[in-house]
């Protein structure tokens, strides 16, 4: 019976993935492109000095409540960056097949950078989710950096395969 349950779980998961992909394809078709993002506000939001200040002044319960609130807002910002980089990835991905060599080359570089941003967003989501569940934690680079560095190494290795990426990007 265990085998049957494992198989049914796998099949259900697969159908859920199909449904999500169908929905996101329809969303992509009506999407209006990139959404605006207030980067200075994002920097303020993720400033650890603010957290230190709050930690000194607020009782633990209240601090955790505020921290979770900040994390939910930060999550929305990261989501927007992630969505925007996906939009860029899609559009630049299509432009890579452009017959104009300059456009294709520029698109290739943008795809590379957008993939990097998207990967960093995944790491950021993991960090935010962990801190939301355990608000007492402060995930430092010591915890996340190795993973992130591996990702960066992957990207660097991939870049090395495309020497044309070193050249300056012409505005698309």
């Amino acid at each position: 019976m265990t085998a049957l349950l494992v198989v049914i779980a796998l099949a259900l998961l697969t159908f859920t993935a199909f449904f999500v992909a169908l929905r996101s394809r329809r969303k992509q078709a009506v999407a209006r492109g990139e959404q605006p993002l207030d980067v200075p506000a994002f920097h303020t939001l993720v400033d650890r000095q603010d957290e230190v200040f709050l930690r000194e002044r607020l009782p633990r319960k209240e601090l955790y409540r505020v921290k979770r609130l900040r994390i939910s807002v930060t999550w929305k910002y990261v989501s927007r960056i992630s969505d925007n980089s996906a939009v860029v990835l899609r559009q630049a991905g299509m432009d890579r097949q452009n017959p104009d060599v300059n456009v294709a080359e520029a698109a290739s570089q943008v795809v590379d950078l957008a993939s990097q941003v998207r990967m960093q967003c995944l790491v950021a989501f993991a960090k935010l989710a962990t801190e939301f569940v355990f608000p007492s934690m402060e995930l430092t680079p010591a915890v996340l950096a190795p993973k992130y560095e591996t990702l960066q190494q992957n990207v660097s290795r991939l870049r090395a395969l495309h020497p044309e990426n070193v050249r300056q990007l012409v505005s698309a």
Partner: protein
């Protein structure tokens, strides 16, 4: 793919499958898709030819030959299913060279994990099937289907994590193959679990799922592509600004 028991209980779905397979073959030829999707075209055409051959063998009453032809058909179908998966992978990642190598590494890991899972499930499986030769074939099919479904799931999860754009034909091919492979996996597992007694229900499910996949393939090939809205591409400086912002969050 269909078998003799299904024909005995459900002749109409088998005939419907052959009609749909011929329609799909016609659509593939009319749209000249063999040059863009040679493996998928080969998979569909071979399934159609073998389907007709099986139908003929069964109607001539050559039971022994039918058993061999049926398992040859299943084996070829499974192998070509993997070839189609590779074609999906190639088409999906062609515009994203920066992701291709990472995706390849992830899928190599997924293959290893799924192979282990397939072996565990096959080992833990009680055999409700009295014919041991047939049961062995079904166990191998089950393990292979686990690999196929798992890999398709990984492709969908990876594409979703990176927000990759699925082109119309590639998405249709992946969806049709996924629906068929997932239902086949549940069907072979139920067959092993409950033996021949579960056959009538299993055959209806397999027939409906395979015919649905054929309809999905035909539909996605014939339907016009969902056009994405044109949007202005952000400048490199903007991308780098986002990059720095997220890196700051990670490193703080």
């Amino acid at each position: 793919m269909l078998n003799a028991h299904m024909f005995r209980s459900l002749p109409l779905p088998w005939v419907a499958t052959l009609i749909l397979q011929s329609a799909l073959a016609g659509v593939l030829l009319a749209k000249r898709l063999w040059s863009r999707f040679p493996l998928f075209s080969c998979y569909c055409l071979l399934n159609f030819i073998l389907g007709v051959a099986l139908f003929a063998v069964f109607n001539f009453g050559l039971r022994h030959l039918y058993f061999q032809a049926y398992w040859l058909n299943e084996g070829l179908g499974l192998l070509l299913g993997f070839a189609v998966l590779y074609e999906i992978f190639r088409h999906l990642f062609t515009p994203y060279p920066a992701l291709r190598r990472l995706a390849r590494q992830i899928f190599q890991g997924a293959v290893a994990l799924l192979a282990v899972l397939g072996c565990i499930v096959a080992y833990a499986q009680p055999w409700g099937e009295s014919n041991h030769l047939q049961a062995s074939f079904i166990v191998v099919e089950q393990a292979t289907r686990i690999l196929e479904v798992g890999l398709l799931l990984s492709v969908f999860l990876f594409a979703s994590a990176f927000g990759l754009h699925w082109r119309q034909y590639v998405f249709g091919i992946a969806l049709g193959l996924g629906v068929f492979a997932a239902v086949e996996l549940v069907a072979v597992t139920m067959r092993l679990q409950f033996g021949i007694t579960a056959n009538p229900i299993i055959n209806i499910c397999r027939s409906v799922s395979y015919n649905s996949s054929l309809l999905i393939w035909i539909g996605y090939i014939l339907a016009p592509d969902l056009a994405t809205s044109p949007a202005e591409m952000p400048k490199r400086a903007q991308l780098e600004q986002w990059n720095r912002a997220v890196m700051e969050l990670i490193y703080q």
